[in-house]
């Protein structure tokens, strides 16, 4: 009897030790993150506090993004594309240059907008204050938001008036910098390199097809489109173009890309009027490959 009790208490002690060890091991990163709970976000007049977002994060975000913010929530295994790992501080939708942290307002916009063609919905049903708090909470997962400043946002000149010349010039930019290598000669997302693209975690990823009418992941306005290709989408194969496309040319490209989309637009109408067909302007058109 006594021996059994001894055995029992020994097993209990072992179990407690194991439990304590795993707890403290799991909390090594958590403890580190908790030190950053004082994180704030500033969006316009709003100030977000990470501590205020703990409830909402546990309720709405933890299932996919995980308790540690590493994108390893319990639903993650069923999702494609995978939830963002916040600890790396790498984000697709930025107004800042490639390799730099996004602005608080970039994260705020992403939370509000959601990400098209993914499982991330729009969180606009939450109040602006709650979303600002969540931005601070997202930031607290990465030490980079303590040690680094966000990059400088790229400047976007005012949208010029649309002209036939600009539309044609946009097509030439598309051809010259070879957007078609991935996005296809006519923008259908079927370029020669499309099939082999992978993201930073080596998972397959598709280039955007301009003809299927889906919303862009990082916003739907002309300015958003300008920003997307100029800053690039970090973590994906989409590079930054701000070093190689001048601001004026960038607007030309925006017009041309708009004319490819199926939605009704002034660009599409103008392209129809002047008989501008998607694809290479000259005979240099490479054939699409499966």
């Amino acid at each position: 009897m006594r021996r059994m009790m001894l055995n029992g208490s020994l097993i209990l002690a072992a179990l407690v030790t194991v439990a304590l060890c795993s707890l403290s091991w799991g909390q090594a990163t958590k403890a580190e993150e908790d030190q950053r709970l004082g994180m704030e976000s500033h969006i316009g007049k709003l100030t977000g506090h990470a501590t205020s977002a703990q409830g909402n994060y546990r309720r709405y975000c933890v299932g996919c993004h995980g308790e540690l913010g590493d994108g390893e929530g319990e639903n993650a295994q069923w999702l494609e594309p995978k939830p963002r790992n916040f600890t790396l501080g790498i984000f697709k939708c930025r107004s800042t240059t490639t390799g730099t942290l996004p602005l608080d307002s970039d994260l705020f916009d992403t939370i509000g907008r959601g990400l098209d063609s993914s499982n991330m919905p729009s969180w606009n049903p939450l109040s602006a204050q709650e979303r600002a708090d969540l931005v601070a909470y997202v930031k607290h997962f990465s030490a980079r938001f303590v040690t680094e400043k966000p990059g400088a946002p790229i400047e976007i000149p005012k949208e010029p008036a649309l002209t036939a010349e600009r539309l044609k010039a946009g097509q030439e930019v598309f051809q010259r910098v070879e957007c078609w290598k991935c996005h296809g000669p006519t923008g259908m997302g079927n370029g020669p390199s499309a099939a082999t693209l992978t993201d930073d975690q080596n998972r397959p990823i598709l280039p955007y097809n301009f003809h299927d009418g889906r919303r862009f992941k990082c916003g739907t306005t002309d300015e958003d489109l300008y920003r997307i290709f100029m800053t690039g989408l970090d973590g994906t194969p989409m590079p930054s173009w701000s070093d190689n496309i001048k601001p004026d040319e960038a607007w030309d490209l925006v017009f041309y890309l708009r004319s490819l989309q199926p939605m009704k637009s002034k660009e599409k109408e103008l392209a129809r009027q002047i008989g501008l067909k998607p694809g290479a302007p000259a005979a240099a058109a490479p054939a699409a490959q499966q």
Binding site: V177, L197, D243, P286
Partner: protein, 257 residues
């Protein structure tokens, strides 16, 4: 003249010559302090890196998705460059660096020279580019096709990934890395076979040539651990002593898998 007198005169002359040379040395020492420092750092570590066993087969690269790339290799088919073995088993593209023994001041010296990473014939030249922490380097393109240059360091270790385009004729990109990292993979998403490495180390380094030979320059006398890194075979270390005027040597042999 009496011999004693002559001896005296000679002595005086010797003394004067001695004084002058001492003064000259002092002047040199005082006027060219930078020069005397580099003189102290003139030690070297040399050696060769070899592969023991048959060189693994390097697959040919199918570049048919990009006609420009195909054309560049019409007469010289391209192969992967993960293991490049030269005559006598010399292993190319191995980076050698001092992993222990440098003082903090020595390790934090950054060379002014800017190493260049070229995108040429749809391949990276060189395949492996070594550099110092905070040393500026250049990425350029010699190709008439668009590349994107996408280094993938570990952001939690201090270096942040970025992804920039380089269409034909684009200016060189100048950059540097903040933290030591062996090694940062670099890829081009448009040409998936293009794969290379940036090796970021602290202090003097060298990369082996086609014979597997290397020389790490500017190593002050002392006892060191030298590490050799090869992308497929990992790292090996060796203890080396560098004495004034006598280079240290360290040869390495990696076993073929």
């Amino acid at each position: 003249m009496y011999p004693e007198e002559r001896e005296k005169q000679m002595k005086a002359r010797y003394q004067a010559a001695g004084m002058i040379s001492v003064l000259l040395l002092l002047a040199i020492g005082l006027l060219w302090p930078a020069r005397s420092v580099s003189a102290a750092a003139e030690g070297k570590i040399t050696g060769t890196v070899k592969l023991d066993g048959a060189a693994p087969h390097m697959k040919g690269i199918d570049m048919s998705k990009d006609p420009f790339c195909v054309k560049q290799h019409e007469n010289s088919p391209a192969h992967l460059e993960n293991v490049v073995v030269g005559a006598g088993g010399g292993l190319q593209n191995v980076v050698l660096y001092i992993s222990q023994g440098l003082s903090a001041a020595e390790a934090s010296q950054t060379p002014a020279k800017e190493p260049v990473f070229d995108q040429k014939n749809c391949m990276y030249t060189p395949h492996v580019l070594a550099m110092d922490v905070n040393q500026k380097f250049k990425v350029m393109t010699s190709d008439q096709t668009t590349h994107n240059i996408h280094p993938l360091p570990n952001p939690l270790a201090g270096n942040i990934p970025w992804n920039k385009s380089q269409p034909p004729g684009a200016p060189a990109i100048e950059s540097s890395w903040k933290a030591e990292e062996v090694a940062i993979p670099v890829k081009c998403n448009i040409h998936p076979w293009m794969h290379g490495y940036f090796v970021v180390v602290k202090g003097p380094y060298a990369t082996t040539d086609e014979k597997g030979a290397y020389t790490i320059e500017n190593v002050p006398p002392g006892n060191y651990t030298v590490t050799a890194w090869q992308e497929e075979y990992g790292t090996q270390t060796a203890k080396v002593t560098v004495a004034a005027g006598k280079p240290g040597t360290a040869d390495f042999t990696f076993k073929a898998k």
